[in-house]
Amino acid sequence: MRERLKKIPVNKYIDLALFLFLVTFPLYQKTYWIYVMSGIMAYMIFALSLDLLWGYTGLMSMGHSVLFGAGGYMVGISCAYLSEASWIKYDRLPWFLTPLSSEIGAFIMALVVPGIIALFIGLFMFSGKIRGVFFSLITLALAGIAELFVINQSTYTHGDSGITITSRTVLSNSADKRMTDFGFYFVVFAFLLAAYLLCVLLMKSRTGKVLKAVRENESRLQFLGYKPASFKLFIFVVSGMMAGLSGVLFVRVQGSINYTAIGINLATLVLVWVAVGGRGNLTGAMVGTILLQVAETILNSTFSNISADFAQYWKLALGVIILIIVFFIPKGFVGTLVEAEQRRKDRNRKERILRKGGVNGNG
């Protein structure tokens, strides 16, 4: 038992603490914080999805919000259509959006559409020689285009106003079935836990190892008989669907969606969360998100009375935080912890090997 406990890396303990904290959180908090934390948990799923892509596979998508927003907008359009929002001028949805006319259809579409978008982007990019920084730049441009696109397609997306949603359940679009903030918190929590477990399983599997190998040395992998493109495509689609799911949950928590959910701002923000927490170990993505978002919310409600310009100072501070992170703890908070543990273990092992006098033992 002790041996097994020793083998569990430090970040898994943090995960455990985090989930224990999250599950007890609403029991002693007020509605406002329950609402805020639900939103943060949705963002945590989003950060996890980016971590799969950036942390594990080394694909730094600077436009991941496109997939987040796509999921959110599916639910938004469906809600607007079913509740017959006053701005709707069209009689019926175009053929490719018809599943949105049912509540379950909307949820499925919110997972499938980001998946399909990711599939197309992925097919397009990975079959060509687009990699490294060009992948980042093109995804960045895609986020820019997506923002313009949803504003432009105002027939369905209600332009810059965005869509307001009245329900707070995952499947229902009607205001009558709205759940309380307290109840919905646990729905989001359940999804977060499921998403986390999925990520853990996936990354522990051989596929996860191959993805890490893609990050480390993509060309070498080919000579071992793998097709890196298909693995990258697979993880991009999985990550896209997860981002779509987080989009759905966030929109349901927030009660609205507009172009900022699909644009460059969110896309870069999520990169910062993952970078601060540390990429490539799942925990970092979640911790980074919760730390920065909670900090922002607390500081915001504390200081906005003192200085109306607070939001500006926060963004300034965020810039400094990023610089500090890339300079001093480039692996992020959790990443540094994990690495320190690995170092310590390495030292112990080395001592053991030396004690054995270099004899080739059997462990």
Binding site: W54, M60, M62, F124, M125, G128, K129, I130, G132, V133, F134, S136, L137, I138, L140, A141, L142, G144, I145, L148, F149, I151, N152, I264, T268, L271, V272, A275, D309, Q312, Y313, K315, L316, L318, G319, V320, I322, L323, I325, V326, F327, P330
Partner: protein
């Protein structure tokens, strides 16, 4: 669409192309010769525009002096940033992107806190309008075309004909070999980066009269400049020029046919498709790398 309108669109598209060329050049230098993506580039445009406002509009210096100050100040800023921050992250893509993004945030928020959110307006240094039949063009746009041709020519000269330019090129091609020849490649890096930043500041100052000087000026240039660089290829100035013309002329003509939002979307998607088909850029130089 009438012929006169088409010619008007083509003319304004062409002048726009040169503006796009001017605003992307600094980015091309830094990405092409240092493999660094400078996300702070568009915020340097903003900084340059503010410098132009204070030098030209407030202090009433000649416009050329304002351009020179913008270049010099941005160059110096580039030196500081490169030595302090960028030089630690060569070869680390994610870190560079994050660091330059952080710089861009600092620049933008700094400008907001320093200069406030009010719009600043820079007068046209030359206010005549040239008309050819039904086609008009503001004289300042012609001046802008001139500035960008000059800057392009100078950059070409700088990179290909001067001693430091040769050092820059050889550092790009083979760093360790260049070091063996006794060249201080760190200094070369600093100069290359600062030159790129300086060009961004200069471009910002030059476009200040045709835009609204505000802390968010950089945002509107983000997608276009970056796509331009990606499409033009990072190693050739001619490629950047050609792709500037292609992008801006298509945006101009398509927005004449439909509207500017659609034009923007279509052109950017087409650029992405082109990049897919020619990932090394549309017009890569013939140099063996």
């Amino acid at each position: 669409m009438s012929l006169s309108m088409l010619s008007q669109l083509l003319v304004s598209g062409l002048s726009g192309s040169f503006v796009l060329l001017l605003t992307s050049l600094g980015l091309v230098i830094i990405l092409g010769y240092m493999k660094v993506v400078n996300l702070a580039h568009t915020e340097m445009l903003m900084a340059g525009a503010y410098i132009c406002y204070y030098a030209f509009q407030v202090a009433k210096l000649p416009f050329v002096a304002a351009l020179a100050i913008a270049f010099a100040a941005s160059f110096l800023f580039g030196v500081v940033i490169e030595r302090l921050i960028i030089c630690h992250f060569y070869g680390k893509m994610s870190e560079t992107l994050l660091a330059t993004y952080a710089i861009s945030m600092l620049l933008k928020q700094g400008a907001l806190l320093l200069f406030g959110k009010n719009y600043k307006k820079v007068d046209y240094p030359t206010s005549e309008v040239f008309t050819f039949g039904s086609v008009y063009i503001e004289s300042y746009k012609v001046v802008l075309v001139g500035i960008s041709i000059l800057v392009l020519a100078f950059t070409f000269f700088f990179i290909h004909k001067t001693k430091i330019g040769r050092k820059i090129r050889s550092t790009t091609q083979n760093r360790s070999m260049t070091e063996c020849l006794g060249i201080d490649t760190k200094r070369v890096d600093t100069i290359t980066f600062s030159y790129g930043m300086g060009l961004a500041g200069l471009a910002g100052a030059a476009i200040a009269p045709i835009s609204t000087v505000t802390y968010s000026l950089g945002e509107s240039w983000l997608t276009n400049t970056f796509m331009n660089v990606v499409m033009g290829g990072v190693s050739s100035l001619f490629g950047t020029f050609a792709s500037s013309v292609i992008i801006q002329e298509s945006i101009s003509v398509i927005s004449g046919l439909s509207n500017s939002v659609t034009a923007q979307i279509i052109v950017l998607l087409v650029v992405i498709v082109i990049v897919r088909l020619k990932p090394e850029g549309l017009f890569t130089s013939k140099e063996r790398r």
